[in-house]
Symmetry: C2
Subunit: 143 residues, 2 copies
């Protein structure tokens, strides 16, 4: 459904949200550990998310990644859009460039419906909220 990059991105966002709720910053090493991802790879991804202001960071000792109030309010849809673009929300299921109401692919309408639900689901999933269930150990980010 999502690229590996995007999966890591989502997991990291939620992990950082949980760990930085108390005001602490989290180092890249701990993040990679905590979400079971390649260290340098998730570092790149977070750099990217940082540029797009989905996550905050600080260099040097006591530095690391964290979320400000706005980032905590970001939805998974925001993350997906930042990494994978909006192909999943608007693209044709069969890969046609000009698939539309006027010139639909054979599964255009069925797909439209499903895509809408995926979008809704991701819009409603906020990073901050998801991190709370993680905190309570109701959900998991590894393995």
């Amino acid at each position: 459904m999502f690229s590996k990059t995007c999966e890591y991105a989502i997991r990291a966002m939620i992990y950082i949200a949980q760990k930085s709720k108390t005001g602490n910053r989290v180092g890249i090493k701990e993040i990679a550990q905590g979400i079971d991802s390649p260290e340098h790879f998730i570092a790149k991804i977070l750099q990217d998310l940082g540029k797009k202001d989905l996550v905050q960071s600080a260099k040097g000792p006591t530095g690391g990644f964290y979320h400000d109030a706005q980032s905590l309010e970001k939805s998974l849809a925001d993350v997906v859009r930042a990494i994978d673009g909006d192909k999943i929300f608007t693209g044709c299921g069969l890969g046609l460039k000009q698939c539309s109401e006027d010139r639909p692919c054979p599964i255009h309408n069925q797909f439209k419906k499903v895509r809408g639900e995926i979008k809704l689901m991701l819009e409603n999933a906020k990073v901050g909220e998801l991190s709370e269930e993680l905190e309570q150990r109701l959900t998991f980010l590894k393995r």
Copy 2:
């Protein structure tokens, strides 16, 4: 959502269904043309689908690809499973290997629902039926 390979596979299946309804076989060249795919690439894919008995073929002059009654009854779910496996039907949205009811990822339940709908949608989409709308030019497979 699907791999390019899978997109081509679905498009080819529907195209062949339409073209072979009258008993004719369709050559790989015409298929590639008809669904706007690389010729040799779709050839490989059809070889694979052929081995899995989702499409029939014959060599030599008057040869080509076609569907028998059973293949026409195949669903897109069958095609997707043959090419991309069942990851899309059962895999974790965040890429966790052991995501389950007992040990769910942060979006396990929401995803489960969406996956179920995707599965249903694809199970209900039969190659033969989809080819009829194509025949009537209500749907399209190119561009």
